[in-house]
């Protein structure tokens, strides 16, 4: 186990400001029309950035043991399984069987 790391208030403040800026970006990006998949992709990219900041700093994962990293990675991997297999259903809804037409 790694020893306890103390995060300074300054670091928390920087992360907080970064999160606020990203929130403004989210709202601004939603107002502009980028075309069909791009609005969603931009919104998700900003959201993922925010989540990573929270996990690394507020949840102290940046200063934690490798074992903690493995578990955090597993959590993300599981989340991707859920999104990927669910999306696979939505993307293939319109496909037709070569046998039944």
């Amino acid at each position: 186990m790694s020893e306890h790391h103390i995060v300074t208030p300054a670091t928390y403040l920087k992360v907080l400001i970064a999160l606020a800026v990203l929130m403004v970006l989210t709202i601004a990006a939603a107002e502009v029309h980028f075309g069909e998949p791009f609005n969603l992709m931009i919104a998700l990219a900003i959201a993922v950035t925010k989540a990573v900041l929270i996990v690394l700093f507020f949840m102290h994962v940046k200063y934690s043991s490798h074992l903690t990293w493995v578990f955090v990675g597993a959590g993300f991997f599981w989340f991707i399984i859920m999104v990927a297999l669910t999306t696979a259903d939505y993307l293939s809804r319109g496909w037709h069987s070569p046998f039944t037409g």
Binding site: M1, L67, F71, A74, G75, W78, I81, M82, L85, T86, A88, D89, Y90, L91, S92, R93, W95, S97
Partner: protein, 543 residues
């Protein structure tokens, strides 16, 4: 406080049950053993509530007409039966009772890693349970335990919000327990207790905890979304609001298929311990059983779409889920094969826990095997939402999980209470449960094949005979479940002293701790020097 026990069969003067006697010393105890007892009492109450509901609607199904109860009442009864049995009994049963009690003892620790979190998980469970009881007294809920939208979000006019909150809150107690076990198993093993010397009970709970921590948040959020769509009209699942009802099924089954393994994996851990001890044999293929638990935890996450073959899920998606479902049968089959291998050339003793374990092997094999019928898209279209499905998952949940829970309770009862129960009655109850269970649920396979749909209070005349079989079986099953309550309670007062190790079993909880264990588990910190299950076939039973 450590009393030196000279006679290994004498009960210690001071143990975790008697060292403090006030009610507060129980309700605020941080001792994992006392918290296990709190869980044992609470889940037993819910088990009998759920059982009474089942008895009531089985009586209704005695006749084809809806004469005993109206359709609405019937819907509420089976919904509450499902919610209570799954969220308030099966999910916490083995982990929160036997896991809580045994994990620290088996790994040579004084307690779990986070004792306060452990107590908090019980309180969270009780808050969820109170909400559940509130649902019961405020008119119930009739959506089925699955809470499918749009029924749950738009059409049901029962207490869906409260029921959803009850399940939501209870989920957190499950997450806290899983987290606690993961950290405990990683950081608190006794010197010499390497991963491959761990009892398989620990491996099974490790795999279970992974699922609890990773999957439970998803169902909590899915149920929460149901609640906010219902109350505030946020469009998530309702097409009229831009949502998609099938999305709920994806989120729900992403948790609820792995939840089947939350219920069955700890049971598999129990079975490994009981079979090795009662066959007086080293477990056959230790690494295969250990890794198949982890494989189940992982592959179990890839198969949820097999619940959605007829719900409008894309055909190619169903195809992929069907193939993946065939894969998840492999690790379960590996386990059954290895348990049978352990019996081979063992010196089998037919104790009550062993009879329950043998019941588990047969019933779980039927439950798992019939799952393949439902995992194949072609047969599932015929069998979906019939009594075949009901029979299948009761063979897994009752024939598997409940049989294993009872095997474990009978096996570790002398350790937990320091007393022996009446063994003849123990064996008798195992046999009655086995017969009653098969009489209840085997006819339901036949009814399902004939197309009898589930979740209706009336049915066609020609299905009555098999339904009479099923209801009669349920009454036998009820007697089988009541019997242990009687002789366990009797044993608390009149039972013979068990001694530290009445089964002559291997493992720190038997060899290094007294029965009942002392408040801090061990008088001396244990050191492990041998492999798990080092049975030589000659250990004596003192029962």
């Amino acid at each position: 406080m450590a009393t030196v026990v000279t006679d290994p069969n004498a009960a210690p003067a001071v143990h975790y049950l008697n060292w403090r006697k006030t009610v507060a010393s129980w309700l605020f105890s941080l001792d994992h053993k006392r918290i296990a007892i709190l869980y044992l009492i609470s889940i037993s109450v819910f088990f009998f509530v759920g059982g009474l509901l089942a008895a009531a609607f089985r009586l209704e199904l005695l006749t084809p007409e809806g004469d005993l109860m109206q359709a609405d009442t019937y819907n509420r009864y089976f919904t509450l039966h499902g919610v209570v049995m799954i969220f308030f009994f099966l999910i916490p049963s083995i982990p929160a009772v036997l896991g809580n009690f045994l994990i620290p003892l088996m790994i040579g620790a004084k307690d779990v890693a986070f004792p306060k979190l452990n107590l908090a998980s019980w309180y969270v469970y009780m808050i969820g349970g109170t909400l559940g009881v509130l649902v019961l007294v405020t008119g119930g809920v009739d959506t089925g335990w699955t809470f499918y939208s749009p029924l749950s979000t738009t059409y049901a006019n029962t207490n869906v919000f409260l029921a959803a909150m009850a399940a939501f809150v209870t989920g957190f107690s499950s997450i806290l327990t899983g987290l606690n076990f993961l950290v405990t198993i990683h950081t608190m093993r006794a010197p010499g207790l390497t991963w491959f010397r761990l009892p398989l009970f620990i491996w099974a709970h490790y795999a279970t905890s992974i699922i609890q921590v990773l999957a439970t948040p998803v169902v909590a959020i899915a149920i929460f979304l149901i609640a906010i769509e219902r109350v505030w009209g946020v469009g998530v699942f309702d097409p009229a609001l831009g949502g998609d009802p099938i999305l709920f099924q994806h989120l729900f089954w992403f948790y609820s298929h792995p939840a089947v393994y939350i219920m069955i994996l700890p049971g598999m851990g129990v079975i490994s311990e009981v079979i090795a001890c009662n066959a007086r044999n080293r477990i056959f293929g230790y690494p295969f059983i250990a890794f198949s638990s982890v494989a189940i935890a992982i592959v179990g996450f890839l198969v949820w779409g097999h619940h959605m073959f007829v719900s409008g899920q894309a055909m190619y998606s169903s195809l992929v889920f069907s193939v993946l479902t065939m894969l998840v049968a492999v690790p379960s089959a590996i386990k059954i094969f290895n348990w049978v291998g352990t019996l081979y050339r063992g010196n089998i003793v037919w104790t009550a826990p062993m009879l329950y374990a043998m019941g588990f092997l047969g019933l779980f094999a039927i439950g798992g095997g019939t799952g393949l019928f439902l995992g194949v898209t072609g047969t599932d279209i015929h069998l979906h939402d019939t009594y075949f499905v009901v029979a299948h998952f009761h063979y897994v949940m009752v024939g598997g999980a409940v049989m294993a829970y009872l095997a474990g309770l009978h096996f570790w009862w002398p350790k937990i209470t320091g007393r022996l129960y009446n063994h003849l009655l123990g064996k008798l109850s195992a046999i009655i449960v086995f017969i009653g269970f098969n009489a209840t649920f085997f006819p339901q396979f036949l009814l399902g094949m004939q197309g009898m749909p589930r979740r209706y209070h009336s049915y066609r005349e020609e299905w009555q005979l098999l339904n009479i079989f099923s209801t009669s079986g349920a009454m036998i099953l009820g007697i089988g479940f009541l019997l242990p309550v009687l002789y366990f309670t009797w044993s608390l007062v009149f039972g013979r002293r068990a001694g530290a190790n009445p089964w002559g079993a291997k493992g720190l909880e038997w060899e290094k701790a007294s029965s009942p264990p002392s408040p801090h588990n061990f008088d001396h910190d244990p050191v492990v020097t041998e492999e798990a299950y080092a049975y030589t076939g000659r250990e004596q039973l003192s029962v």
